[in-house]
Chain length 285, copies 6
Amino acid sequence: MAEAYQREFFNVSFPVEYVAHVEINRPEKLNAFKEAMWLNLSSIFRQLSHDPNVRAVILTGAGDRAFTAGLDVQAASTGGALAQTEDATAEPLDSARKANALRRHILEFQSCITDIEKCEKPVIAVLHGISFGLALDMSLACDIRVSTSTTKFSVKEVDIGIAADIGTLSRLPHAVGNLSWVKDICLSARIFGSDEALQHGLVSSVYKDKAEAVVQAIKLAATIATKSPVATLGTKEIINYSRDKTVAEGLNYTAVWNAAMLQTVDVKDALLSGMQKRTPRFSKL
Amino acid sequence: MAEAYQREFFNVSFPVEYVAHVEINRPEKLNAFKEAMWLNLSSIFRQLSHDPNVRAVILTGAGDRAFTAGLDVQAASTGGALAQTEDATAEPLDSARKANALRRHILEFQSCITDIEKCEKPVIAVLHGISFGLALDMSLACDIRVSTSTTKFSVKEVDIGIAADIGTLSRLPHAVGNLSWVKDICLSARIFGSDEALQHGLVSSVYKDKAEAVVQAIKLAATIATKSPVATLGTKEIINYSRDKTVAEGLNYTAVWNAAMLQTVDVKDALLSGMQKRTPRFSKL
Amino acid sequence: MAEAYQREFFNVSFPVEYVAHVEINRPEKLNAFKEAMWLNLSSIFRQLSHDPNVRAVILTGAGDRAFTAGLDVQAASTGGALAQTEDATAEPLDSARKANALRRHILEFQSCITDIEKCEKPVIAVLHGISFGLALDMSLACDIRVSTSTTKFSVKEVDIGIAADIGTLSRLPHAVGNLSWVKDICLSARIFGSDEALQHGLVSSVYKDKAEAVVQAIKLAATIATKSPVATLGTKEIINYSRDKTVAEGLNYTAVWNAAMLQTVDVKDALLSGMQKRTPRFSKL
Amino acid sequence: MAEAYQREFFNVSFPVEYVAHVEINRPEKLNAFKEAMWLNLSSIFRQLSHDPNVRAVILTGAGDRAFTAGLDVQAASTGGALAQTEDATAEPLDSARKANALRRHILEFQSCITDIEKCEKPVIAVLHGISFGLALDMSLACDIRVSTSTTKFSVKEVDIGIAADIGTLSRLPHAVGNLSWVKDICLSARIFGSDEALQHGLVSSVYKDKAEAVVQAIKLAATIATKSPVATLGTKEIINYSRDKTVAEGLNYTAVWNAAMLQTVDVKDALLSGMQKRTPRFSKL
Amino acid sequence: MAEAYQREFFNVSFPVEYVAHVEINRPEKLNAFKEAMWLNLSSIFRQLSHDPNVRAVILTGAGDRAFTAGLDVQAASTGGALAQTEDATAEPLDSARKANALRRHILEFQSCITDIEKCEKPVIAVLHGISFGLALDMSLACDIRVSTSTTKFSVKEVDIGIAADIGTLSRLPHAVGNLSWVKDICLSARIFGSDEALQHGLVSSVYKDKAEAVVQAIKLAATIATKSPVATLGTKEIINYSRDKTVAEGLNYTAVWNAAMLQTVDVKDALLSGMQKRTPRFSKL
Amino acid sequence: MAEAYQREFFNVSFPVEYVAHVEINRPEKLNAFKEAMWLNLSSIFRQLSHDPNVRAVILTGAGDRAFTAGLDVQAASTGGALAQTEDATAEPLDSARKANALRRHILEFQSCITDIEKCEKPVIAVLHGISFGLALDMSLACDIRVSTSTTKFSVKEVDIGIAADIGTLSRLPHAVGNLSWVKDICLSARIFGSDEALQHGLVSSVYKDKAEAVVQAIKLAATIATKSPVATLGTKEIINYSRDKTVAEGLNYTAVWNAAMLQTVDVKDALLSGMQKRTPRFSKL
């Protein structure tokens, strides 16, 4: 099964039934991202989304040093988006044409990361070691964020002269409960630890070290995987919808959603199993 | 006055001037809800909303064991919404017709709970003992949530194969400041305590036990009841409006709202009382 | 340079390069606000917004006793908005005409305070001493809020018979992560301290006393002032935009914004400086 | 069946299978509305919404002179909303308390008219004769509007000193395609005819006289009643939803809605009937 | 009274009681706009908005040849926004800094035109002769648009290489009812006449020539000026609000607005006048 | 160049410089759509969007009989979405799982059609002959719609038991200006002609026959292709954005968009060409 998920710079394994483990695998560069990587990431999560054998996913970085150090700035400044800011020798574009090229590029990059959010299965990010820049963009597109006692976080983008544009600035104000802190970390690009991340709501649990965090994340994923996949899909979808909408819109959407989804046999199975004190087995989605 | 509020499964009392105490009263079933109960709940809160003798409300469950254990699943699976998922012998509906029947049912149920939110008077929920499923749907429609050191919370719905649909998933992302935690508790259905509830923002105060929590809730309600009812109505209304809208929309709505409401004589009374160091008496609303 | 900013009731100084310090200066009245003051405040912040020599701003109150005690109620009840609630001898307006006059007045007052939010440069509020009513309206329009161990906060408005209408009720539910606590403090008008403010997300840091808080705020402002002004402008703008919009809208806006802004030479300068371990100098905005 | 719909001031009949005809019946007063009437109207449409024997509705006024002349101003100025503007002898309310009483009253009145829009079955309004004020509020909550060559339309409200508040101002800008004309007729309160109404999109068909218009409306209703009730419910619901939302929101809602509704057997029945050149018979909803 | 409105490039007169006539006065340049003009326009409309002696406004261009030919491109390309596209000798800005300067400039220009929309009094635009570019931006911020048999319309902007940015593209899709036509005229920049403008909903009336159109516009303004100013203010405000919002939001806003505004004595005056067959005289707003 | 666009069921040609002509090519089946076709359509328009040699597109159907008769119902009921409504022999899914499969299918189908709307270049649909069902979904995603004197339109979906779900119900209320007519045609599925389509705003021009319509569409496309591609891209993007947003949001977005796009050299070229009475040549985008 893992073979179907072979992509350069990523390992995908299945530690427990119905649980996928996606590992960013470029440890020699602190798991820094270049274009091929976000295209592969997107492709993996689009596949996981419809894979009936997967019900929960965890996302980590290979090695002990970093979840990811963020964008591979060197790669970006030679062939990527940041390169556009210098006049290429071949064809000096006027500012408006450059702007449109940049817009296309950013929209495509954002779209790759948003594929994590669109994945029908819950995704748990384990933020460990260096977790800079893109680490936040990506993990904010995940459903649950946990970290370790030594995780180093930073919204690094202002340090290279740009406003973060792959999702952090759009998702962070909806993910945590202290807007003053959001602006503090985004404007100063300072490095902070798991204590602040937990206090202000960026992560929901902090573990001793990466090993422990991974064990706990798999455990949580395994718990989620025992639930009805119809129920977890609906729960993820409706929370994401409601985050972005008024309460009245959320309620109406829920009613329309559940008009179909309450017809699942999983409800009967869950109720019966409950009475019979056994674990229900739900069919695939 | 309490007589006007007699409904099956509820006690309504008036412990302090202008303060109503609504108690869910089905302790032998852990205050679990069946259809008659949410219809009665709605009827009580619609009446409280316009009652000039009420300025603040507290909501508790009878007995020490539970605020409410949630939906009475047994009742629901024989005559209610969940029963729809099985083919009734009489008339096997096709999926689309079942879906519409479910949609109607959910919208009506949601509407009953939303009547707490629509009540013009501030409502304080005292979450104590078992507070599962519907306990969260209901208390999230209240204005202020307090709990006790032994409250057991759970967003229980995924355990019966469904996505919570009476309000928790729509209101929770707007009520607390840690979206990672929201998804953790909603996807895992795990039981958590008041420490987590306070840390992540689900409740604003935790008291030793139910008795203490009720005393403090009444005290807070009594304080609110001493304020101008024009001012507290506006405060509740504008916060709820602003939660769902942009800041610019909130500001404009506030200006239109206060265009009328600043004309109240309560302002003069409050200012005079302040200067004269006495408690103002505001007329009814 | 400070001369260009001379306005009654305000001191504006420049403690560090690119950092402006705006001080509310009416300490004999606990920095309470009358109409001339919010007009001057607006005028100062509109000027700071376009001043190429300013990249970050801090806002404090003169003296040790108060950031501000809020609206100067005495002034308001003789010549201002609250005066409208009594029949003036000259021309008794009917309720609708009074309502429109009040609406105009509130909209103008709100607009002055919103000029802090619209200021292109990040603004840090140092809440110290008495910080009542308008102190919250104003600081919630700032980007970052810090306080001291002895700050006394209160959303005071219900105590004078009105719902807060200059921004607190519209911005608070988007700024902190505990809606139950928001309603608690707004409905009870109780005084609370920095511990609660930090716990529930109203401020992001608490310092020993005003002196220390000002030092730290200037330090933070100075750090921000070393960043590319193109990057900090974008960061402030996109966070404010995203606070009010869905994630999808935030992402698209970011792409359009950065289509222009990524073309800045600051990116090249920042990258080079990073490699050369020196501090970049960005040109003015 | 008509008996179940007996309400004062209304006749309800069933001219064709699955088609209900609701007639406003106070012709001696030009079908002018007093409070009992909008309460009855609401009650009728809430019942029609869930009545499995109804698939389309037409709405007319009794007699030849008027669909309705609008609000019964005389009744309103003695016991209703407009009476509130004078000081009642019994209890002179302050402006803010009066404002809240008016707000409650308007919200309830609006809610009654909105029950036409919420009715799950398509509603066709036949505007004939005098169609002033409330005639527009009501017919804009209907799905389809037709009129006669002699219909007299007017958005009458500014002539009695108020802005129309039961729905015309909220629905008209979304119902017709000439905003300049919308403001012309709403600000001038001038009387206009079916030619303008058709040209600018207020009605979709104009017939010779009331008799002909009613015949054609019943014919259209009968056509709609031959369609799958699952399909017409979805069509009405999704158009109303989309009118109020972005295209992207409309598309997503449609996908969730049809996830359930495409499972109807009506699709198979409709396809088979199409091939066999016969009229399908759909089961009730 | 006209003296208070003296501004360069504009004539303001008062042809009828309570009616102001604003005339763009640069006929030798086909009333083309340069920066001083939109600043003056804004200043005039902000003053009219609060002037108790004005209840309706008409807007025309001086001379027979043009309402306005649009932006004075020559002026713009030497000192204004379009000049920014060339490198000025003095200080070559990088693209991002230029972008921010342009953004500030466009926002300020838009804000001046939006002051027509924000004016509390209804505004009627008489589009005559050449009505290109800015003519549409401005008239779309007016409430009612009328034209003459020889008016020449064009959304001219693509012909100078830009997307119209002072309001046409934002307001047109909400003002007319044929989106295909909107894109046709905006993408082709072709010149069209009053027949198309009327057919597709850009204007609501067409008159023989400018003289006739002005007479009729003044007549319409005079009619509006006889209505209660409380009622016309509310009508304009609520239609503009509703254009931008869902029906449910529009209804709620209307209820809050009218909570204050229904308390006007104008209702009693209007009702009495109606019964007594005389014209009511409303007091100033 | 046409070779790069070879896809089954489509012809793509380039009749004029910078103009692409996409022809649906399955005339023997009245150009009815099966799954391969909408996937190919999407692929073509995604390619056109970024093709620097294309500045405007027209869309027609091959043959004289039909633009398209809509969904190929026979194909759909054997292997496609409608087949899902019958129990497949292999694996009888429960209703909830079927619902999710349908949701995925509809979202993917919608996304293919939306690629026309997302195409950066203006698209003109020539509706001729039979234009049923999907013909409307597709052409409503185009920018400009023209038709012929004999075009037969129908929103056909209710006739096969479903609510139109590929875009008609979401886009139509924003595209035309008579909501009553929208519901009439969507609920009755009746066939109507170009006269109604033009009157109510579905098309913006009607021509004698297909040949003439194609000639005129190419002419319009050619005109658009002579404009600055920076300007037409912005015009399309901002109109689509504004259709879905408030005026205030539209204005702000326009300012940010044009901050980059006004820096184009096309403005200088267009101005110079205008003065020199010659046609400008803009570089590629």
